[in-house]
């Protein structure tokens, strides 16, 4: 497994990491101690039987390994690539105490990629029960719940407002981290369980609330796609994007290939990306691949960035310039952007997140010369559908309130993923969806 050199990869959207060879995979799998009480499994929100699948890899039984993965996770090629393994399964692996943990994510990706090439096997599906389940949203939460409920024999319909399934996997995460064909293949496997996908259906508009609530169970997985803007002057100038818009134009609409594709996007020569999370890294690296000089403007220090360490170092290797301890205060220009005015921040006492809280330093204002600005400072729960459902309890930030099993304030309505938790991770969204699917299956059985 190796990363392609930064100087090469900034010229394309091909995957950064080329994956393990079979020999490398077997050698890595052989490092596993096959713990009796495997800590790694506790670190996996979908409870993959990690020792079992790793053992199968060590034996060269890739088919068996794939079967074990699919028992708990229908999206292994995706998770193997984008899970924050360092804080999940690998973070818990006992080997990590003294040396490096087993590279569970890389092994998972290897097995899933192998299976995709060799032909995927489908897990068993129970006999039809005659019960109908509606899933709203086809991101990782919706797909996982749909698979879980379909395998119990219920008839599942997913409503997706966009013209492609996958949620953030499709419109947000760029292909150099998660290739489009990988996402599509795993979605197709979920659909092959008999799940119906209705694209171009915005629930609440194309499907009425009455129609939706008429299903025997409903799972809301509409995500946290509402972009947040900083609220600084000049934000509506031409050339200021939310990360969601910029990434959607490029990933979903292929605007980087304009005019071969019809959707345009601005090509900034000098681009400021505001934020320090995964979304900011992705935006910066996409802009870089489109030829820009990119400044990543973050109000705390590099070590405080919430993005995965590997993404931060990839971004650095690719020549992204980090402007830390800096906060934007104004976007300059008339019709178009001609600069970003910032102020330096000093880091004071720790705040409730345990990180130093940034305070502007008076008189330290300066201007970064840019012609485009991308704001990646966060997203909120998608308000549209959930605000239309009468009696659905929501939290202060607009998220749907659920219990551990995804139950909402309406008896047969469940929710999971980012709409319930606020922007989180793929695997947490899947974990919550799995628990909700189990609860829905139990409810539909009359338990």
């Amino acid at each position: 497994m190796a990363d392609r050199p930064a100087s090469v990869r900034i010229n394309d959207f091909e995957e950064v990491d080329t994956g393990l060879t079979p020999d490398e995979a077997i050698a890595e799998a052989e490092r596993c101690l096959q713990c009796k009480k495997p800590l790694c499994v506790k670190g996996c929100p979908v409870c993959i039987d990690i020792p079992a699948f790793v053992h199968a890899v060590a034996e060269g039984d890739f088919r068996g390994a794939a079967r074990t993965l699919k028992e708990q996770n229908m999206l292994p090629a995706i998770c193997g690539r984008v899970c924050p393994q360092e804080t999940q399964c690998e973070g818990a692996c006992v080997l990590g105490i003294k040396e490096t943990p087993v590279r569970i994510g890389a092994l998972e990706r290897f097995v899933a990629d192998w299976e995709r090439q060799e032909g995927a096997e489908l897990p068993e599906v129970a006999r039809p029960t005659g019960k109908r389940v509606a899933v709203v949203g086809s991101g990782p939460a919706g797909l996982t719940a749909a698979a879980g409920v379909a395998r119990a024999g219920h008839a599942v319909t997913i409503f997706e407002s966009l013209h492609e399934a996958g949620g953030v996997l499709t419109y947000g995460i760029p292909s150099f981290r998660l290739p489009e064909d990988v996402v599509r293949a795993e979605i197709d496997q979920v659909l092959a369980l008999g799940v119906r996908l209705k694209k171009n259906h915005l629930a609440g508009r194309s499907v009425s609330i009455d129609e939706l609530l008429g299903y025997d169970a409903v799972f809301l997985a509409t995500g946290a796609g509402l972009p947040v803007f900083m609220g600084i002057p000049g934000e509506n100038r031409n050339g200021v994007y939310s990360a969601n818009e910029f990434l959607t134009r490029v990933n979903l609409m292929h605007a980087d290939a304009f005019p071969g594709f019809d959707t345009p996007v601005l090509h900034g020569a000098r681009v400021a990306v505001i934020g320090g999370g995964n979304v900011a890294m992705d935006s910066a690296r996409v802009a870089r691949r489109m030829g820009a000089k990119v400044f990543l403007v973050y109000r705390r220090r590099e070590e405080d960035m919430p993005a995965r360490k590997v993404e931060v170092s990839h971004a650095r290797e690719e020549g992204i310039e980090f402007v830390t301890c800096t906060n934007p205060i104004r976007i300059l220009g008339e019709e178009c952007v001609i600069g970003l005015e910032c102020v330096e921040m000093s880091l004071c006492d720790l705040d409730e997140s345990g990180r130093p809280s940034p305070e502007p330093i008076p008189g330290s204002e300066f201007i970064i010369d840019v012609d485009m600005v991308i704001q990646a400072i966060g997203t909120g729960p998608n308000p549209l559908l959930v605000s239309l459902i009468p009696g659905l309890e929501r939290g202060r930030r607009g998220n749907v309130v659920v219990d551990d099993n995804g139950r909402t304030s309406i008896p047969h309505v469940y929710a999971g993923g980012d709409i319930a938790t606020g922007a989180a991770t793929v695997i947490e969204a899947m974990g919550s969806a799995k628990r909700a699917a189990a609860a829905m299956n139990a409810m539909l059985k009359g338990e």
């Binding site: 407002s161 171009n200 972009p227 934000e235 994007y241 818009e245 959607t248 998608n382």
Partner: protein
């Protein structure tokens, strides 16, 4: 290639203006006045918003002007051809209520959005006055239909080739001076909406305009469609498209509509070249 949404009827109404009926049951069954749809012609296509102009069974009507690449390519489709994606209905429906006397003003291709609003206002018990205007007689659409719906209909053309010589705003201004009008809708190009809503402001009449910023998803996820209304940023696709006209920052709207002028030109030139090489009607693609 899977194409799902069939064109049932394709009619040329005027120079560069077309009326299309598209089968899209999920849109037709739920559409209300004031809403729009988003279509994508093929795998390489852009998502473009168009107002839902009428509904019949499982089909919806759109009326559009072929101004750029996507609308010109759409205009090459014939009955029986298909469109890859149609999503909707999108946006909040118009605020229909019993206001008393209402005026529904359409300018140019914006007239497309007037019949459904006029109809629903009528059904709610209002006295409905229609004012429709275009540059010239051959660009005036839906006159008969609007005459059938409205209690009164006024027609204007910029060049006087049909109806009164002048602008819809002139008629509106005269009516406001003569009698009480309780609520006004204005749909048309941004500059026309700006000028026309300026006429109602001194009278303090509640006035709605239907904004048309550049959109991508149309579901509130990207912020491409953001507009400033009453000093606050709103997303036209989910908070609108109709807003209180007197609060809208039209200058910003028009500025944001120009973001891609350069690219739009490239796209169109490339398309025109391609059309020449492939001959007329070679609209299939992707």
């Amino acid at each position: 290639m899977k194409r799902l949404y069939r064109v049932e009827l394709a009619i040329k109404l005027a120079d560069r203006v077309y009326e299309y009926w598209i089968r899209a049951p999920q849109v037709a069954q739920h559409a209300r006045a004031g809403q729009f749809l988003i279509l994508r012609l093929h795998e390489r296509g852009e998502r473009i918003p168009l107002t839902i102009s009428a509904v019949r069974g499982d089909a919806v009507r759109v009326i559009f002007m072929a101004v750029g690449k996507t609308t010109q390519e759409l205009a090459t489709l014939r009955a029986g051809d298909s469109i890859m994606d149609v999503a909707g209905p999108l946006g909040r429906p118009s605020e229909i209520a019993r206001y008393g006397t209402c005026c529904v003003v359409g300018g140019g291709v914006g007239i497309a959005g007037t019949p459904l609003i006029a109809e629903e206002l009528k059904r709610a018990g209002n006295h409905v006055i229609g004012i429709i205007g275009a540059r010239s007689a051959d660009l005036l659409v839906l006159e008969d239909e609007m005459r059938g719906i409205c209690d009164e209909l006024y027609v204007t053309t910029d060049d006087g080739s049909r109806g009164a010589h002048g602008f819809a705003a002139d008629v509106l201004k005269r009516l406001l001076g003569e009698r009480v009008i309780d609520c006004v809708w204005i749909i048309g190009p941004a500059i026309m909406m700006k000028i026309t809503s300026g006429v109602t402001a001194p009278y303090g009449v509640k006035t709605y305009v239907s904004l048309n910023p550049i959109m991508v998803d149309g579901t509130g996820m990207c912020g491409s469609c953001r507009v400033t209304v009453g000093g606050e940023t709103k997303f036209a696709c989910v908070d609108g498209p109709e807003f209180d006209a007197h609060q809208v920052d039209f200058v910003e709207l028009m500025q944001r509509q120009r973001i891609y002028t350069g690219q739009e030109k490239i796209s169109l030139e490339r398309y025109a070249e391609h059309q020449c090489r492939c001959g007329e009607g070679g609209g299939s693609h992707g």
